[in-house]
């Protein structure tokens, strides 16, 4: 088996590095003037706070079809990921790393060694082969025991492989890459050219909720129209994000909304209320699709520790008439069956996450005037309440 090779990046070294790289929780930074300077002392005496806000002023492009904002500038991508874990590379599992991985794979193929992904595949295939061998040996042992019982003799049991003693057989091992031709100087040159020619086709993708939080909440992101590259005003962004969930699908952003389409139960508003709630409390909020939930809450970020909480967004209509007239079929708006809830709870308990039901109250259109929907101020009328779900087993949980 491939043993874990310690490097200077393992364990404590990597933790310290992560603490340095991911030191800032948000893209905007605060710079404090030196405490001893005269101007600072004067300001402090007068009660003036002269801390400066350093804004990175990132840019992103709205993409209506994928309901997201794309960030392509490498500096902006790095800032948004390292300061708050915003966004995800669309060809990667977290931060955009597709180009680096492709180049690495090319180098590994030329240099005759395995990439870490290939090592992982090899380990998994070996484990699969071990399980097949073990299953076969167990079946043989059962058949032998049966036959011996029928014939009235002692069973001669075959050896059942265990994890410690099993070795992969020689012919089942996959051939090492680059076995046939050793790398030559020409191959190195060709490979360098290929690396340079390889266009980075990956971008970082922000959900509409992340983009709006950065743009309106922190004012550190400018969103551009995909066709004109003009920066959008807050009013245009506010309308186009709601229209991204519109009834009439479109591939272009729409900047006007009719009064009938402007509703409190627009999926963008409902989900944004919950996103903003947890982000403003300091949680790092990411997508929860891998665990059957809507959101995952991380205390510091995905690189530090697994998510502690999985959040299900459950919209609650203050006025049932709004639900009947709604063109949007909001998920989880109807009472949930016990089996479904149990399933989700089970999935999350298996991965040691606590399930949180976040009930979002959608204001009644008869109580709140319609014009509040023209600005983000309408978010004041939404409330989020949490119910934490844990399975209680009376026989085992006595303390």
């Amino acid at each position: 088996m491939v043993g874990r090779q310690g490097g200077h990046n393992k364990g404590g070294g990597r933790k310290n590095e992560n603490n340095k790289i991911y030191a800032h929780p948000l893209p905007i930074l605060f710079s404090e003037p030196p405490q001893t300077s005269l101007s600072h002392k004067l300001n402090a005496f007068l009660g003036i706070n002269d801390t400066k806000v350093l804004n990175p002023h990132c840019h992103g492009v709205l993409d209506v079809a994928t309901r997201s904002v794309w960030v392509t500038d490498p500096k902006d991508v790095r800032i948004l990921w390292t300061r708050g874990f915003f966004g995800k590379g669309d060809l990667s599992r977290s931060e955009p790393s597709w180009h680096a991985r492709q180049v690495n794979a090319m180098k590994a193929a030329a240099g005759n060694y395995l990439t870490s992904e290939e090592i992982r595949e090899k380990r998994r295939n070996e484990r699969k082969q071990f399980k097949l061998d073990r299953a076969r040996a167990l079946a043989e042992a059962a058949a032998e025991a049966e036959a011996a019982f029928v014939e009235g003799r002692e069973a001669v049991l075959p050896e059942i492989p265990s994890g410690a003693t099993w070795k992969p057989s020689a012919q089942s091992a996959a051939p090492e890459p680059g076995d046939d031709a050793p790398p030559s100087a020409d191959a190195d040159e060709v490979e360098l050219l290929e690396e340079e020619l390889l266009e980075d086709v990956e971008h970082m993708q922000l959900t509409l909720q992340e983009a709006f939080f950065l743009c309106w909440g922190l004012d550190c992101l400018t969103i551009l129209d995909p066709h004109t590259s003009q920066s959008l005003s807050l009013q245009q962004i506010w309308v186009s994000l709601q229209q991204a969930f519109g009834i009439i699908p479109s591939l272009k952003p729409v900047y006007t909304i009719s009064p009938e389409e402007e509703r409190f139960d627009n999926p963008f508003l409902v989900n944004y209320a919950v996103y903003h709630h947890y982000r403003s409390l300091g949680w790092v909020v990411k997508s929860g699709i891998k665990f059957c939930v809507d959101l995952l809450l991380y205390k510091r970020g995905p690189v530090f520790h697994h998510a502690e909480f999985g959040v299900l967004v459950i919209p609650v209509y203050e006025d049932p008439a709004d639900k009947l007239s709604s063109p949007y079929a909001l998920a989880n708006a109807d009472p949930m069956s016990w089996t479904w809830l149990s399933t989700i709870n089970r999935v999350n308990s298996q991965v040691q996450k606590t399930l949180v039901l976040a009930y979002v109250t959608i204001p009644s259109s008869s109580h709140v005037p319609h014009h509040t929907l023209s600005s983000p101020a309408c978010l004041n009328h939404y409330s989020v309440r949490e119910v934490v779900l844990r399975r209680f087993i009376p026989a085992r949980m006595r303390d």
Binding site: D63, A65, T66, R67, S68, G87, K88, G89, D90, L91, S92, W98, K131, L132, A135, E199, V201, E202, Q205, L206, T207, L208, E210, P226, P249, S250, L251, P267, K286, S287, I289, K290, A329, A331
Partner: protein, 118 residues
């Protein structure tokens, strides 16, 4: 999206089905660039208002089918049945469930019960 290199291969089907354009585009990118499938073809399936994909996984021979959809959609068994019919009744089809943060979760669907391998 229109300026992305992958758009050319999808330029006929994406404007035809704007509702599923995002998930088709994301799935195509993931299959061709991230998962590195080969011989990828785009199949137009008007009956379920989207395109599907057929290709080969790296180092594997059989032709596999992928049908994209988005998390927000509500799908029915008859929807799957029609997709299976129009794709020529393959043994299995991968359903690619897309999310706005670009995560894709693949599920393998078969038309009937399948026994586990061992």
């Amino acid at each position: 999206m229109e300026s992305h290199p992958s758009y050319k291969a999808l330029s006929e089907v994406l404007p035809k089905y704007p509702q599923s354009a995002g998930s088709c585009f994301q799935t195509f990118n993931d299959i061709t660039l991230a998962q590195q499938w080969t011989d990828v073809e785009v199949i137009d399936l008007p009956v379920i208002s989207r395109c599907a994909f057929r290709g080969r996984r790296p180092k594997m021979d059989p032709l596999l089918y992928v049908v994209p959809c988005s998390l927000a959609e509500s799908l029915s068994v008859s929807w799957f049945n029609e997709a299976f019919e129009k794709l020529g009744k393959p043994d299995q089809v991968y359903l690619a469930i897309n999310t706005p943060d670009s995560s894709i979760v693949y599920y393998k669907l078969t038309p009937g019960i399948v026994k586990p391998p061992v």
